[in-house]
Symmetry: C2
Subunit: 202 residues, 2 copies
């Protein structure tokens, strides 16, 4: 198997951190997204969404979508459990991972995608929406700070995929000047802890 | 347990159809979203995202996010399997469900949310983005028609949660005049089949 990767995009980093936490090594093949190789007809046969990452299995099956790839590895190597430990916990981890996607990662990604030259001609850009999503993302970080006042990690007292999604999103905020504010002490405490795990360098 | 529901919003319908397919009955409590009861401080204690549906367990735990709720029921009553049957199939179902969310449901929802009076003062509306997402949704339906030329259901030869997401999204397109075109015969054939299942009335 191998993973089609981009070392600069946020979503492939989610998968790399997830695999580092599991101690799983998979060969990565860098896709030249700057030159739009991901938008070629050849790459679209692997993923019609034209996005990385994509996991290609030895039988040729291509699994796209970061969370689908992570879930595949959670099933074939359950420990350490990053999607929760029982039915209720797994539902709560899914809930928190989705909240981190819809309230943090997507707004932060839109703040970049909807106005940056990199996406000009690649998507229908609406710069006014970039600004709306930047404000939405800042509100989400303020809310997340209050959530983290009462627990160690995003989904409870264990590190999960929800922490990976949130950290990758917030780190990607750098390109849109979205950052944790000095007064958001709980968020800063959490970020300091997750960013110091060896997997964060993956 | 009970589910906080809205009989008019698309996401609660995903959960109702999923439970109908499983033959599971859970009491529904209607939330008056027209009068913004979902945005009250009391409801936000159940779901800070102020959205329905929410599953409240007997121990008081609140599980929000439609897919998290569905996954909880998949675990406590696996048959019929709507998230896939083994590790690879479950990854592919997750991939397809996410494609239906990101390429179909979210664009169709944005085409409504970003310009309709219902959301005025509730979210930061950008009407130009509503139009961009309407066009994105129409492109997605054209692509989905080509995908369905070669298989019976969205994720393969079995009905899954990805079919539920896609059908609910397309049916919700009605409010934004987004619909299957006469020439999209594969998409129309698929929609006719899934819409005729008894669960579609849930």
């Amino acid at each position: 198997m191998k993973i089609y990767n981009s070392s600069t995009a946020p979503n492939p980093r989610r998968v790399r951190i997830f695999l580092a936490e599991k101690g799983i090594q998979v060969p990565y093949e860098e896709v030249d997204i700057v030159n739009a190789v991901n938008r070629s007809a050849e790459f679209r046969r692997k993923n019609p969404m034209a996005a990385v990452p994509v996991l290609e299995l030895d039988d040729g099956t291509c699994i796209a979508e970061s969370v689908a790839i992570c879930r595949y590895f959670e099933e074939i190597q359950p420990e350490p459990r990053l999607f929760g430990i029982d039915a209720k916990d797994r539902a709560l981890v899914e809930m928190w991972n989705r909240r981190m996607e819809f309230a943090v990662l997507i707004p932060i990604a839109d703040a970049f995608r909807q106005r940056h030259d990199f996406f000009k001609g690649r998507i229908r850009q609406v710069p006014e929406y970039a600004e709306a999503q930047r404000l939405n993302a800042e509100e989400s970080l303020q809310w997340l700070d209050s959530e983290l006042a009462s627990r160690r990690f995003i989904a409870g007292d264990r590190f999960t995929i929800a922490d990976i999604t949130a950290m990758v999103a917030i780190d990607f905020g750098r390109v849109s000047k979205i950052a944790i504010k000095p007064e958001q002490k709980h968020l800063a405490r959490w970020h300091g802890e997750v960013a110091s795990r060896p997997s964060a360098k993956a």
